[in-house]
């Protein structure tokens, strides 16, 4: 009788075989398990027994093919990781531009004596932007120990950027309150507000980009966990 699907034990044996014979990446094991399961079912349809089929896979040629496949898989996705790293360098470069702008804005508020609070908030934001730049540069250049680290490190700078993002809101909210009753609307204040809005837009763009890339990372990690669970079934 034609067997339509491998039993759980057969599938486990197949996954175990692929793992022992050179595959390491969960996603690749899952994909190859499907490939070899189809192959096995085809051979079993022709009357071969499961044990015979599994033994027929255990050849030197298959071993070297699987090893090469794993190496090529890592190479292909490694290149993609390099691209992502370059993407982050670009993000951190944006921050390195952003921080001096904020410092300049803080200096302007101070010079124009618009308020006492705003320059301090701006300086705090600038320091955080610079810290984020430093952290991202550090993780980009010096911390490449494992692929897992490459993935998780995206989350840490995001947290810092989120603080910057929310502080930009605080600035926006704080400004009208500062001007009410204390200072009439002057050209200087309008100019300062324009700078603040521009800075906020910059912050929002950077945050959005990082959130988007982090969301993608989260999706990849979920997919990997899903594959691992399947592989261990």
């Amino acid at each position: 009788m034609e067997q339509r699907e491998l039993t759980d034990d057969q599938y486990k044996a197949l996954v175990d075989y692929l793992h022992r014979w050179g595959l390491d990446s969960p996603e690749l094991i899952s994909e190859m398990a499907d490939h070899f399961a189809e192959k096995a079912l085809e051979l079993m349809d022709r009357g071969h027994k499961w044990e015979q089929v599994l033994n027929s896979f255990k050849t030197k040629a298959t071993y070297s093919r699987l090893r090469r496949l794993e190496a090529e898989y890592k190479q292909v996705w490694g290149k993609t990781w390099i691209r992502k790293v370059f993407g982050e360098i670009r993000n951190s470069a944006e921050l390195s531009v952003l921080a001096p702008i904020l410092i300049f804005a803080a200096g302007m508020y101070y010079a124009l004596q618009i308020s006492w609070l705003l320059p301090h908030i701006e300086m705090a934001v600038s320091i955080k932007a610079l810290a984020a730049y430093g952290v991202m540069t550090y993780f980009t250049n010096f911390n490449r120990r494992t692929k897992v680290m490459l993935r998780t490190r995206n989350f840490f700078p995001l947290l810092i950027i989120e603080f910057v993002f929310f502080q930009s809101f605080i600035i926006k909210i704080a400004t009208p309150e500062e001007s009410l009753g204390n200072e009439p609307l002057t050209d200087g204040l309008i100019w300062a507000l324009t700078i603040m809005v521009t800075v906020s837009v910059f912050l929002n763009v950077v945050t959005y980009r990082l959130m988007r890339s982090t969301h993608r990372e989260a999706e990849n990690i979920h997919a990997e966990i899903f594959q691992k669970l399947n592989a261990s079934q």
């Binding site: 599938y11 190859m32 496949l69």
Partner: protein, 114 residues
């Protein structure tokens, strides 16, 4: 006897063409279809198929979706909408290559004669 070596260099374009025709395909399905179409001449091994698919995926020409089939997961490949032009270009290049090859095998009489 397998003539796989003759298809070397055109594998990516062949895979794109097969996937374009079917909408979406998984790895083993691609090897089966290639065998059927070439009467067994082209037997794509997993060592050639998957690196080619993963490279196309990394280049953004293919997108993937994973579906649960029985007790295993199946990864389907389909052409990426945003890079449809690039995929089409590669398929066209394959067609042009086949036409040129035909010119070598069956040169038109008088073509290039003084």
């Amino acid at each position: 006897m397998s003539k796989n070596h003759l298809y070397k260099g055109t594998l990516s374009a062949i895979l794109l063409k097969l996937i374009e025709e079917q909408g979406r395909m998984y790895g083993y399905e691609l090897t089966k279809r290639a065998r059927e179409l070439t009467s067994g001449d082209l037997d794509i091994t997993e060592g050639a198929l998957y690196p080619a698919l993963h490279k196309l995926e990394a280049e953004g020409l293919l997108t993937t979706e994973v579906e649960k089939i029985g007790n295993r997961s199946r990864k389907y490949y389909r052409l990426a909408d945003e890079k449809g032009g690039e995929a089409r270009k590669r398929i066209d290049e394959l067609a042009e290559y086949a036409r040129n090859l035909q010119q070598f095998l069956n040169p038109k009489p008088g073509h290039g004669a003084a």
